[in-house]
Amino acid sequence: MDFNDNSEEAAFRAEVKSWLAKNAPKFAQKGSNVRREDESAEDIAEAKEWQALKADSGYAFIQWPKEYGGRGSPMQAVIYAQEEAKYPLPRNYFIIGAFAGPTLMAYATEEQKARYIRPMLRGEEVWCQLFSEPGAGSDLAGIRTRAEKEGDTWVVNGQKVWTTVAYMSDWAILVTRHDTTLPKHMGLTYFFLDMKSPGVEVTRIRQISGGSDFCEVFLSDVRIPDSQRLGEIGDGWSVCLTTLMNERFMGGDASRPDAKELLGLAKRLKIDGKPAIENPAVRERIAEWYVQSVGAKFTKFRTLTALSRGQTPGPENSILKLVNASKLQDIGAYGMDLLGTAGILADVDGDEETAQFLMAYLAAPGARIAGGTDEILRNIIAERVLSLPSDIRVDKALPFNKLASGAK
């Protein structure tokens, strides 16, 4: 039991380090790995340039098969990501491609693959994913966006939401409902789509935290050639599952502030004239979150170990977002509590170390929902990991248009 690379991994890491040392600083100087709301055309151009350079050196979408420009190695993808994270590089707008790509690989024609995959890998064309809808979030198969066939063309109408990078995307993957009289999962058909098509309108969504990480996409009589259908008519759910399987990438590290930042805050603040860090109640809280934090970190190491051994990672990875999102919300609120009445201030004398707790408090509700709500994640753990029976489903057999649906 150790934390070391095996010899192959060590060699790859050395190679990556050296490549990054040579290539990253130029971009790191200009860019920043902090998300910015209103990037300039230059920011985007720079990010594309960096992605292209990575792709040309075999460091973009490393988990992809070699024939498409990857290295077929999830472990090497992780090692690369670890090393890349040490540089403040341009924002990555290309992550949707990482799982749109494998969907194309599985379902597109050879001509389409030749046309789309390389520009996707190189970031020349940005892709987005038109899946969620206002009425279909946790229940993705409940989408209502209609696709109607007119000759060799499909006419699509509907509204999509929570679409990352839609405002700057060139192409999209899209799931639609082509037949409302079929049961829910059987009436779905999957396409890819030119985002510059007439009838596509994108607006950005503002979140509680003030950020705008997502978009709404309105589709009005958007025409898609049947050649851009992926999978058979009515086979959209299977195609979706292909995409989602590739979306299950490595759970990210916990957002900050984490237990360590709380420890830092407690060292600076006072309670009853004594440093807060000397207060046993504060110490207990720090201990609790530290245990979660370290537990999450080493859980990820267990997953990496499976990858490193060429095995399929175990289910332990499924706990990470569930743990980290609530921890973020709780630590945010508790940091504000430690600040006392001053905790309400968005900015305590311009001090970023204190402001991060309020920011976490405002951002965390999104973390508990985006990418699978707490409730969906618990269901997944219960059903897929512990093999418990599924919820009683009333929506599987009935025609979609006979299902009960609420006002919203």
């Binding site: 509680i208 935290s209 609120a333 509590d337 309400i344 509700p365 919820d391």
Partner: protein
């Protein structure tokens, strides 16, 4: 046993609820969140016309002296709608401070203005991060002038006077500063809840006068905190109840997997937990209202207990309300954020829940308890 609002109090509540439903729907709150105004002036004026600031105020100062339970009733309703007006600063803090001070001249001068809403008053105490203690107070009062800086002062940007806790040669001291007379600078600050305005006030030799017994500023502050905590707790209780109702209603309207999401136990039981926390808070709040009304020696324990229960209930209800709303819940355009912001603001305005837990156990040790 008569441990509930009376019929008259329930009528007052129903009346206030109807009034606020009409006058303070979400767009009014959103207007203050997104606009430049520090509060909704129309709502403030209507509330004054209704006589709410006069509720517990003695008749001698222009009040109607209905009593504190009635003021609690009003507070709960203002909390339900996340009212964006400078009510708590003036009525729960400034007016209560004046009443506690025993200073007839100042009471006669300022209390009627609070009742008529001609003036906004506030209580300026916080000076830095961390739990409140007299050690943390640097503001000096000498020669009837104040020097120092107060942060996170509720309505500090719009108040015309403030009761200010300061150090003095004679010990901790309450002072009354007329903020319209120069010597102080106010800067509105951004907080977790922009629907209630807050400011930093810098006193640079501002004229002020002593309020209450010299050297008693810290004791008076403790007494004020206990009294205000009860009223804040009712605002929190109102907010917690409204957030629960909002989540409950959404869970019935919103369908997923062919069912109202409120039919899933994950949601149902979360809502049941909200109800449990809210009912525990309500019972604690009623006890505190009784203690406030009767000036009971149990007030410190009862106020702390209500404050703790209501802070935690509102925190839970407001965050899980967003969670139950799912994606839409954390958008700017949704109304969930109003409770999420306000619960944090109210939960910190008088000091954190940990601060109040400590006060509670101190009160338990001192002995006058339920």
């Amino acid at each position: 046993m008569n441990f509930d609002f009376s019929e008259e109090q329930k009528e007052l509540r129903d009346h206030a609820r109807r009034f606020l439903k009409d006058r303070c729907p979400w767009p009014v709150v959103r207007g203050v969140l997104e606009g430049p105004a520090p509060y909704d002036a129309d709502l403030r004026a209507s509330v004054a016309e209704m006589g709410w600031p006069a509720t517990a105020m003695p008749e001698a100062y222009g009040g109607i002296g209905l009593g504190y339970v009635e003021l609690c009733v009003i507070a709960e309703e203002l909390g339900r709608v996340v009212a964006p007006i400078p009510f708590s600063s003036s009525v729960y803090l400034a007016a209560e401070a004046l009443l506690l001070s025993g200073d007839e001249a100042n009471k006669s001068e300022y209390l009627p203005k609070i009742v008529s809403a001609d003036s906004i008053g506030t209580f300026a105490v916080t000076e830095g991060a961390g739990a409140l203690s007299m050690d943390s107070i640097q503001t000096q009062f000498a020669g009837n002038r104040l020097t120092g800086k107060k942060i996170a002062v509720p309505d500090g940007d719009v108040a015309s006077f403030a009761i200010v806790l300061a150090q003095s040669a004679r010990g901790p001291m309450w002072t009354l500063a007329d903020l319209t007379k120069g010597g102080s600078t106010r800067v509105a600050v951004k907080t977790v809840d922009p629907t209630r305005s807050h400011a930093t006030i810098t006193f640079d030799g501002a004229p002020a006068e002593p309020l209450g017994a010299p050297g008693k500023g810290w004791e008076l502050t403790q007494r004020l905190l206990d009294r205000a905590a009860v009223l804040f707790a009712f605002e929190q209780l109102g907010g917690a109840t409204a957030a629960m109702e909002m989540a409950r209603n959404y869970s019935i309207e919103r369908y997923a997997f062919g069912r109202a999401i409120g039919s899933f136990q994950a949601i149902k039981h979360r809502l049941a937990d909200m109800f449990v926390k809210n009912e525990l808070a309500r019972s604690n709040c009623y006890y505190a209202a009784w203690a406030l009304m009767t000036n009971s020696p149990e007030l410190p324990a009862a106020a702390a207990s209500a404050r703790v229960a209501a802070s935690e209930a509102y925190h839970f209800a407001s965050k899980e309300n967003i969670q139950i709303h799912g994606g839409i819940g954390f958008t700017w355009e949704a109304d969930c954020q109003f409770h999420y912001r306000r619960s944090r603001l109210l939960g910190l305005n008088l000091g954190s829940v940990q601060f109040w837990k400590e006060r509670l156990v101190s009160a338990l040790e001192a002995g006058a308890v339920a």
